[in-house]
């Protein structure tokens, strides 16, 4: 009986409308935040080498969580679908690269947030077909966007400053007196920047989905005809979802290159990655922000864990790689059939069990 709603009466609708109305949830979030800000920067992850914990796990997981929240806004909350996620991230990354060349003195954090707007515009543009087509046809349309943008990333030399290698290489930039990008940037600095941006974007997404805008997205998702008869304009609603979703993808794309990879070419934004992000959304849970965290963390770390297990039993790493692909495939199928709300739902069920414990009825 540790986790419960009973005895915690809400005296106002404001309290009832909070993101985490239950006290135990608030405590849980506080603990996570403390760990993220006070434990990880000093000690990394338990049992792992510090640099590996930050560079290979924490930073990418946090960045992909931003992507997953963004894609979840589109797929989970608005019921549209996109296989262009990686390309929209690419738009963010290339925009950020161009911005750093044009405005070398502007704070890089501002440039990263600005690059999201380019992705938002491109996302909204490629979201236009969603007004006429649904489901499979929309998948094809977004896939076309993916390939068209990939083509742009290769063919338009201006995007990578005509670098003969075709790659964008991240320059060194400082913010608030710290080196945050480039080879000289400390992992812990990059980690803290990414973490803070993620938390900021999580709060915004949480606010949006609980308010008028989020409801209009869910109305379109659940029953577009009824939504329209209530006064929701399908055009603005769908496009706003594409724009916000792509904004998140754009920022995460910029972060991926500037805070993690250090350099990137078109392969970092190919369609395989689009699938990967979609898997994160589905496995984590459609229409859940908590689920987005879980999905990104799980899909990213699962193959790493399997690889370690493989090492213990001296199994060929490529075999383990394929095993993890198959296992994730099976899990996706299972989730789609059995529990469309993914890990987030399982987590919730677990908490509910705890709520009525020790009296199951």
């Amino acid at each position: 009986m540790f986790y419960r709603e009973s005895g915690q009466f809400k005296s106002s609708y404001k309290e009832d409308m909070q993101a985490f109305p239950i006290r135990e949830d608030k405590i849980g979030i506080a603990v996570w935040l403390l760990l993220a800000y006070l434990y990880v920067p000093f000690f990394g992850l338990p049992g792992l080498e510090y640099g590996f914990a930050l560079n290979a796990i924490m930073i990418p997981v946090l960045i992909f969580t931003i992507t997953t929240i963004g894609l979840n806004i589109l797929v989970g909350y608005t019921g549209q679908i996109s296989l262009g996620t990686a390309a929209f991230m690419g738009v963010g990354a290339y925009s950020c690269y161009k911005l750093t060349s044009y405005f070398p003195d502007v704070n890089i954090i501002i440039l990263i947030f600005s690059s999201g707007f380019f992705a938002a515009a491109v996302g909204a543009l490629f979201g236009l077909p969603s007004l006429r087509i649904k489901g499979f046809y929309l998948v094809v349309a977004t896939l076309a966007a993916q390939f068209f943008l990939e083509w742009c990333f290769i063919r338009i030399g201006w995007l990578y400053n005509f670098n003969p290698s075709g790659a964008i290489e991240v320059p060194q930039r400082e913010a608030f007196g710290f080196i945050v990008t480039g080879a000289a940037a400390e992992p812990v600095t990059r980690y803290l920047v990414v973490l803070t941006i993620l938390i900021f974007l999580t709060i915004i997404a949480g606010n949006l989905v609980r308010g008028r805008i989020g409801r209009s997205w869910m109305m379109i998702r659940d029953m577009d005809i009824a939504a329209e008869l209530i006064g929701v304009r399908p055009l603005t609603t769908k496009l706003s979802a594409f724009a916000v979703s792509s904004y998140y993808c754009g920022v995460s794309g910029a972060l991926m290159v500037f805070m993690w990879l250090g350099a990137a070419e078109v392969e970092s934004f190919d369609v395989n990655h689009s699938f990967l992000y979609l898997f994160m959304v589905i496995l984590g849970g459609l229409g859940s922000i908590t689920g987005s965290y879980m999905g990104a963390a799980f899909i990213w770390t699962f193959p790493l864990v399997l690889k370690e297990i493989g090492k213990v039993f001296e199994i060929n790493p490529t075999v383990m790689e394929n095993v993890s692909l198959v296992a994730i495939g099976v899990m996706i199928v299972f989730i789609l059939i059995k529990e469309p709300h993914g890990l987030a739902r399982l987590w919730q069920l677990g908490k509910q069990k705890l709520r009525i414990w020790p009296f199951p009825h």
Binding site: N207, R210, M223
Partner: protein
């Protein structure tokens, strides 16, 4: 039929006002199917207007014309004394027309209170940037509308299911939540498509009471489709009868019930 040019007084003493909506010579076709043929009638302010007729008579199609989901090939819709140009349903909702559906159209991924809140969408004005901050005026707005929705939820006696996802509710309650959502829009004209279909006697009585209360307390004009004649007789001020898309009769429940054409086409079959 009594002279009602300037509005009229009902038997139970309610004052019915001027014409709110007028349908003039509506004809609606789906390919070869003629769903509505040259139908004309009006709906007055404060009135409870019933549309009855056998299956496939064109009743739901008529509501769909009224709220702009179908565009008739011929005829005119007049609202508030003005001819209404052809416009998308989302704009017509903005003019104060709300409805419920024959096959419940709730938002299944949301809870009862969230569904009711969707009815307030049009009244919420705080822009995108306030929404993403969700502080100050934006939170205030959300709270004000939430309070209104809770009032409606109390009014329809569905407090117990406030936080329940609507998909898991029994049919009768879903119909009630749908009514709550429509009421949350504070419509001028409320269209109800078979609000009592599939309900038991007790649920029907509850629903009838709610409809009368809505009309009485909020002064909402109501147009409803209903198959149960005893309900229609109890609720409606005036009744339109459709059969194969054609108007058979238009008048008070008593007048309609005595109409020979109606008895032949509809009541004769039912009773």
């Amino acid at each position: 039929m009594k002279d009602i040019a300037q509005g009229y007084m009902t038997e139970d003493g309610r004052q019915i006002g001027a014409v709110l909506m007028e349908l003039k010579n509506i004809t609606l076709k789906f390919g070869g199917v003629q769903a509505i043929t040259n139908a004309s009638f009006d709906i007055r302010e404060g009135e409870i207007r019933a549309i009855i007729g056998p299956n496939g008579a064109g009743k739901s199609s008529m509501l769909n014309v009224i709220n702009g989901f179908y565009h008739p090939q011929e005829g005119e819709v007049w609202f508030h004394g003005k001819k209404r140009p052809s416009m998308p349903p989302s704009e017509i909702a903005r003019q104060g027309i709300a409805r419920t559906f024959q096959n419940i159209a709730l938002f299944h991924g949301m809870t009862t209170v969230e569904n009711v809140m969707t009815g307030r969408q049009l009244m919420m004005k705080k822009n995108f940037f306030w929404q993403l901050l969700r502080v100050g005026p934006a939170l205030e707005e959300e709270t004000v509308h939430r309070r209104k929705c809770e009032e409606i939820i109390d009014f329809l006696e569905i407090q117990a299911i406030r936080k329940t996802p609507v998909g898991s509710l029994p049919y009768g309650l879903q119909k009630r939540v749908e009514l709550a959502r429509a009421l949350a829009m504070e419509p001028k004209l409320l269209l109800l498509d078979e609000p009592m279909a599939g309900m038991n006697v007790e649920e029907k009585e509850d629903m009838s009471r709610f409809i009368l209360d809505v009309n009485d307390q909020y002064g909402t004009t109501i147009a409803l489709i209903e198959h149960d004649m005893s309900v229609v007789m109890d609720l409606a001020d005036r009744v339109v009868v459709l059969d194969y898309g054609k108007m058979l009769a238009d008048g008070t429940p008593d007048e309609v019930q005595k109409n020979q054409a109606v008895i032949d086409a509809y009541l004769g079959v039912e009773n």
